[in-house]
Amino acid sequence: MFERFTREARAAVVGAQEEARTRGARQIETTHLLAALLRSSATAGAVTAAGGDVQALVRTPDHGDLDAEALSAVGVDLDAVTAQAEKTLGPGALARSARSPKHLPFAREAKKALELALREAIRLQDRSIESRHLLLAVLRAECSARELLVRHGTDLTALRSTLETPQPRSA
């Protein structure tokens, strides 16, 4: 599947796996892919230009599959739970106890984003799949990473048009 990916796009996919593992997730989510994409200055620059707060996007506390915002919406304060767990069970207890198998599978949303990246490349008549196609795919999919971008100030339309303009430095 990855034979048409550029070196940079491939690195983003591998980076997404690393992000997922570090955060104690059980699946690779589009948010992990986004975090990996933002490691590249070209992608980060495009998001910043579209009003997105890259620092906040990268800094967003992530407890693996523990979604702090969703928990908060049902009245559970993950910070309080984490604090209690650290008190009784030791530092980093909750993150440590996540079970990450060796090979993390892609979540359905992330899988879909990878497929959409190919379509974006075809649509833009590019011969290989670049990082910007991956980010365009994230914008097209109804996924958590897209949600996160919006929540941190990104103008999706502006970002899309920046990414659709091929840039000489982007590989």
Binding site: G64, D65, L66, D67, E69, A70, L71, S72, A73, V74, V76, L78, V81, A85, T88, L89, A93, L94, S97, A98, R99, E142, R146, E147, V150, R151, L156
Partner: protein, 72 residues
């Protein structure tokens, strides 16, 4: 409708969004799994029997033993 909610930052991740509620359920379950692993290990270290652990968890002794004996 889902699309509208995702695009509007004001309603993202509020209790009104049905997707957020479902994500919270998933996170609660993940939280329970992780705490169970930790709390069972701690209870064993503190000398509780498998039966005492099973009673507190509201499951059978066999179930808790099968699930956790390898972790310790």
């Amino acid at each position: 409708m889902v699309d509208r909610m995702i695009d509007d930052p004001a309603t993202a991740a509020t209790s009104e969004d049905p997707v957020t509620g479902l994500r919270a359920v998933r996170s609660l379950r993940e939280l329970a799994d992780r705490l169970e692993t930790l709390q069972v290990a701690r209870a064993r270290q503190l000398g509780l029997s498998w039966q005492e652990i099973a009673d507190a968890l509201g499951v059978t002794r066999q179930a808790v033993h099968k699930k956790h004996r390898k972790e310790l």
